[in-house]
Structure formats: structure tokens, C-alpha cells
Symmetry: C2
Subunit: 259 residues, 2 copies
């Protein structure tokens, strides 16, 4: 059976072109070699397949980027594709946002995660293996405390347009309360000048997953009468759980996983 599929694949081009079942049958053996042993999957890790599986949440709870994919992820993050992938997500979010009928009471919210969503830590990760190196909280917090993280331009564009549509913005980040001041300064410096709330992770959530912490904070927003129209983040833990919002958007992030 495992052979039939590639044989059919091999024949498909002919069928697709001619639509002739006869030619389909006659061409199978002639075509098979063109597909490298009948389309047998190439062995070894495909970094593109790994990234797709990460973005579709098939690969979960991973600790670091596979060493074999360090250059792939680096080139992806520094090249056009990461930007184009982010743009495709934001364009879809804008189409959705523009279709919304707002309540007019200032209670329609859009939730943004911060790291790798609102702000980009790419300058840091570019110096630390693009996710191949294990997370180093000391070094990462030194970078955060510098307050120099740039905006992810596509998210800044979404932010501006959502505000102009009349939505309120709430940031929910896994950063601790102790980083409130530097985070506020960094947001302003990066071009984010107003928000309804900036929610950082209080020490009472220590030991809780991001899914639990963020779900709990979103629940409180809804209890306060807010309606979460949209929710965007680079981690599945930003958009899974409860009270996730009317629609969620997953920005690309092949550098790290937070559960």
C-alpha cells in the first residue's frame, strides 16, 4: 500500500494535465523514477517541517531549537520571510478588526502579548543562537532592563489601526511586575504610546503556566465588563486556555516555546 500513493502521485501530473485515466495507468511506471523512488520522503530533519509543526502546535513543550536548524532559524528571523509571515497574520487581523461592530462604550479590547509580539527581542536572540542556546534568565533580563527592544513593525501597525478603529489595547505579558517601569519606557520608545492596561505577572502567579496566568487575567477583564474582540501573541500559551477572545492570532516564533 505504501507504494500505491507515490505511484498515484507520479501519475497525477499526467492526469492533471490530460485528465485521461488510460494515460494515468500507462504512465505510472514510466513516471515513477522522476519521483525519486516514488516520492519517498527525504530522510533527516526538515527545518521547514519543524517550523511548520511548531507554528501549528504539533510540536509542543520543546526546550531549544534543534542544533541542525540554527542557521535556518537565523536566516528566517533576519530575512524577509519572518516579516512576511508576520504581515500575513496582521493583515488577517486587520480584515477581522475592520469587520467588527464595536459597542461604543469603550469596552471592546484587543489583547497583545509583549515579547516577540509587541516588542522584538531579535537583537538579543541573534547574539544567543536564535533559540539554540538554553534560555538564560540572567542575560535575558539584562537585555530587557536595557529597554531597547524595537517594535515588531507589523504589530505596531496593527496597534495603530486598532486604536484608530476605537478598540482599547491591553498588554498581558509574562514579564514580572519588577519590570513594569522598564517595560513602560520601552513600549513608549518603541512607539506604543497608550493602552488601557499593562498587565505583568505578579509573584502570586509564580509556578503557574502562562496559559493559567493569562487565562486568569483575561477572565478578570471580562468580569470588569470588557469584551476581548481579539488576542494576538507569538506563543500558543497566549491564545489557548479560557476567555481567549472572540478571535485569536498566532504570530510566528521558531525561537522558543512557553507553556
Amino acid at each position: 500500500m505504501r507504494l500505491l500513493f507515490p505511484l498515484l502521485l507520479a501519475a497525477i501530473l499526467v492526469v492533471a494535465t490530460t485528465g485521461s485515466e488510460e494515460e494515468f495507468l500507462n504512465q505510472i511506471h514510466a513516471l515513477q523514477p522522476r519521483y525519486g523512488g516514488g516520492g519517498t520522503p527525504v530522510q533527516g530533519l526538515s527545518c521547514l517541517s519543524w517550523r511548520l509543526s511548531v507554528e501549528a502546535h504539533n510540536i509542543i513543550d520543546w526546550k531549544t531549537v534543534p542544533q541542525a536548524c540554527k542557521d535556518y532559524v537565523g536566516h528566517y528571523m533576519l530575512g524577509h520571510q519572518y516579516r512576511k509571515d508576520s504581515e500575513a497574520v496582521v493583515d488577517e487581523a486587520l480584515v477581522y478588526a475592520q469587520s467588527l461592530q464595536l459597542g461604543g462604550d469603550g469596552k471592546d479590547l484587543w489583547v497583545f502579548d509583549i515579547d516577540e509580539t509587541t516588542l522584538s527581542n531579535l537583537p538579543y536572540y541573534a547574539k544567543h543562537g536564535f533559540g539554540v542556546e538554553p534560555y538564560n534568565s540572567t542575560l535575558f533580563n539584562l537585555w530587557v532592563d536595557d529597554g531597547k527592544a524595537p517594535a515588531l513593525p507589523e504589530s505596531l501597525k496593527l496597534y495603530g489601526k486598532l486604536l484608530s478603529l476605537g478598540l482599547k489595547v491591553v498588554f498581558i505579558t509574562g514579564r514580572p511586575e519588577s519590570q513594569r517601569n522598564v517595560t513602560t519606557k520601552n513600549l513608549h520608545k518603541a512607539g506604543y504610546h497608550t493602552w488601557e492596561k499593562l498587565i505583568l505577572k505578579e509573584s502570586s502567579y509564580t509556578g503557574y503556566t502562562a496559559v493559567a496566568y493569562k487565562s486568569s487575567e483575561r477572565k478578570m477583564l471580562e468580569k470588569d465588563g470588557y469584551r476581548i474582540a481579539g488576542n494576538i501573541g507569538d506563543q500558543w500559551s497566549d491564545i489557548l486556555g479560557t476567555y481567549v477572545g472572540n478571535r485569536t492570532f498566532k504570530l510566528p516564533d521558531p525561537m522558543y516555546y512557553i507553556s
Copy 2:
């Protein structure tokens, strides 16, 4: 602000190489041209970005593949990448399945969707524009009634290993009850020789989404004492909703969307 990010990107390679903040600052302007106007995203639809956004469930409720991506999707589906992407998902599913502690009472289930998961309709879609043409139920049902759909080889491999691990398999498909016989024959012909249940969509579910129908059927399985250890499908509607299972897996499908 929109300029700072690409400028930083432009400088990152230097920083990444030398780790020198001074050089970082000094090189920004010199490096900028290397990034085509500072890394401004290339305009126009990126079919790779479109596919990623579809697989990550950012783009939803789409009717047909964008005309501009017909060749891209065709090459993807007929080439190695679709097979490698499917293999990456199945490999992850197997790592998970092998880690399971089964109850030993024959109640541990794995749920498979059928079309583009257990069986492949690629021979049909290759003759109908790889998803660019609007869905034609008459022509598609003629293809289904032929009962010649091959197995998706990666899913057949997963199926066999799950059975050998002691899991039971249940198929839940959006195909109607009227296609039970041909579906049963096709499954056997494709190499699927045993299953706990084959659940097709009864007429009572007419008008219900796939998410509602499949959630309802999974709930009944759990009520019957089964434990859904895993659930795999090519559509998000296979793995969203309720009683989705302990872990879900999304196979690639850039050809159509079912809500």
C-alpha cells in the same frame, strides 16, 4: 519607529558576529542598503506565508485557494514538502503515543479524521485545481464513490504503530452515512483493516458545523468510557471544540477549509 527595526536587523549580523555594541551603532547606516531599504517586507501575497497562516489557523473560513497560489499549492502537494510536513506531524504523534501509559482495558482511543488524513483525495484535487476551484459536491462524491483514494502513507504508518501499541482506532468523518459501504471498502483497500468504530455524519447533523458534529460524537465516546488519547486531522475543525482528546495533531492541508 518603523525604520528602527530594520536598522537594528541590519546591525544584528554585525553584533551577532562581533558582539560589539560600538560596531553595532557604527554599522547601521553602512549596513542598511544590504537589506533592501532596511528590510521592508516584499509586497504582494507570499503563498508560503498564506500556507503558514492557514496551518496556524490565523486565516479561517476561506472558500478557495488564492488563484495566485494554485501552482504553489500544486507543487507543494505533489512534491516532497507535503510528505515531509506530514511525516514531522506523525513522528511527533508517535513520540507522544509511545509515552502513554494505557489503561489496559481497551478503552484508550486514537481518533482519525478520514479525508486528507487517513485517505488522500490528492488524485481528485490534482484534477480540480488543488483547491482553487470551488468545491463541487457532485464531482467529489463521484470520486469518493469510486473508493480508490490511497492512504496518506504517514497516517497509515501512524495507524499501524498505534494498533501495535494497543490503542483502539475510531474514524470520525464528515462523509455521510450513505457513503459507509464505499468508505469501508476504501479503507480496507488502502490498508486500514481494523477499527473500533467508523463514525459517519448522520442526517440529524445536517446544518451543524464539523466542530459541533465531531465534538458531539467525541462526547459520546467519552460517555461510553473511552479515553481519547490522541486526535489527528487535516482540519482545525477536527481538533477544536470539546472532548478533543488528550493531545491533538494537525496534518497539513492547504487545499480546503471546513468549519
